[in-house]
């Protein structure tokens, strides 16, 4: 009996250690989540402003032509997938990767029909294992990525579209709703959808010309959209991790309670047995 008790005790101890770790990770993720959300809010004025100006050019001048606004027949598709470097974030990576794989399987017959841009080690390893064509990857992104960190991949993704390497670009990431909910999303980034011009539009002078300004603006706008998706992805990652670790802690608690109960029962049984042995012994002597 004593041996069984020792085993249970050891198990309790190990669950307690695990609980400490998951608890710590939960709290770390919670504080990182707050910071990620702040970064996402801070980035908003820039993208809002860009959108406003692009919309006002689109509304103010008739038939502006730009390759990034034109839909052309789709022969090849680009996907930009945002994942995390580390796991232990619940379904964060699995969800978005499953969605991407599903779409690719439905839409493309051979691996010549699409290319992938990957952010995050998890996604890269996943696609590499399946021999899918990765054009560019970024790993080891910090928890608060700067624009410069993703500038190169965003720039290339946009440039390859304008050069005609593919005819549409999708961006796949976890959209942040709140700490518990993240929705894996596929968004068509390029060609840019109608940028809805709402509210009063100021009529601007453009230097050198509306087309010239658009030339500079649209790639920037697309890059900014990618950047805000990355920030959103980071917030989702921390949210997912927080929730996952929260429930891990809860499960550890449950197991500890269960084990403690079993342990106490075993202890009680051992005591009872010992008493009955003593009583039996005393009776035999009497």
């Amino acid at each position: 009996m004593a041996k069984g008790m020792r085993d249970i005790k050891r198990e309790i101890k190990s669950k307690q250690n695990m609980k400490q770790i998951t608890k710590a990770m939960e709290m770390v993720a919670a504080s990182k989540l707050r910071r990620a959300q702040e970064a996402s809010t801070k980035a908003r004025p820039y993208s809002d402003k860009l959108k406003e100006v692009v919309a006002s050019i689109a509304a103010g001048t008739k038939d502006v032509k730009h390759p990034m606004l034109e839909t052309r027949p789709v022969k090849k598709t680009g996907y930009l997938v945002i994942t995390s470097d580390r796991g232990l974030a619940g379904g964060y990576n699995a969800n978005v990767l499953r969605k991407v794989t599903q779409t690719i399987r439905e839409k493309h017959k051979s691996s010549d029909d699409y290319v992938l841009f990957v952010i995050g080690r998890k996604g890269r390893d996943y696609f590499r294992r399946r021999n899918m064509p990765i054009v560019e990857e970024v790993i080891g992104l910090s928890d608060s990525p700067t624009f410069a960190d993703i500038k190169s991949i965003a720039y290339n993704a946009v440039k390859m579209f304008s050069e005609g390497a593919y005819d549409e670009l999708y961006i796949c990431y976890n959209q942040f709703v709140n700490a518990i909910t993240q929705i894996p999303t596929e968004l068509r980034l390029l060609p840019l959808q109608e940028v809805g011009g709402k509210g009063p539009v100021t009529s601007y002078e453009y230097e050198p010309s509306p087309e010239g300004v658009l030339e500079v603006l649209l790639p920037k706008y697309a890059e900014t959209l990618i950047y805000s998706a990355v920030l959103d992805g980071k917030a989702s990652e921390q949210g997912a991790r927080m929730t996952a670790m929260g429930s891990a802690t809860k499960n550890a608690n449950k197991m500890i309670n269960q084990l403690t109960l079993t342990y106490n029962r075993a202890r009680q049984a051992a005591i009872t047995q010992e008493i009955s042995e003593i009583v039996a012994g005393a009776n035999a002597q009497a």
């Binding site: 402003k49 860009l50 624009f147 500038k151 453009y206 920037k220």
Partner: protein, 132 residues
């Protein structure tokens, strides 16, 4: 003296927001001095210092490209990078300048060349701003 609001915004944060009397920037088509009640205007910018005058004080920022949106009572500069003189790490800029010069001298492919050129411009721009 009439004033207007000047904002400089990067993807990461709002760098600058003050009421000012005059802004001078370097657009792709040449230098622009903007006073209040300017006609609404949008133009891309070069990598160059931006000078803002307010109440006898002059603020100089290193702005790395981007573009400017002018309205009657407000000017917004959107750039991928923008720093006040006090925020610039001169040593880092010097190092970046040197690196870029080396890369230019090495004469690699066209893309590398362009990149190095831009890096050089950014570094020189930062150094110029700190020296004012």
């Amino acid at each position: 003296m009439s004033t207007f609001l000047v904002e400089i915004v990067t993807p990461e944060r709002k760098v600058y927001a003050e009421t000012a009397n005059m802004v001078s920037v370097k657009g792709v088509e040449g230098e622009l001095g903007i006073l209040p009640n300017h006609i609404p205007l949008v133009t891309p910018l070069r990598i160059a210092p931006v000078t803002i005058k307010r109440d006898g004080k002059v603020d100089v920022l290193a702005v790395g490209g981007g573009f400017i949106e002018v309205r009657k009572d407000k000017v917004v500069i959107l750039a991928e990078s923008a720093e006040m003189a006090s925020e610039i790490d001169v040593n880092r800029a010097q190092a970046a300048k040197q690196r870029a010069e080396e890369r230019l001298a090495a004469k690699q492919s066209e893309i590398d060349f362009k990149r190095a050129e831009l890096a050089l411009q950014r570094a020189t721009n930062r150094i110029n701003v700190t020296e004012r």
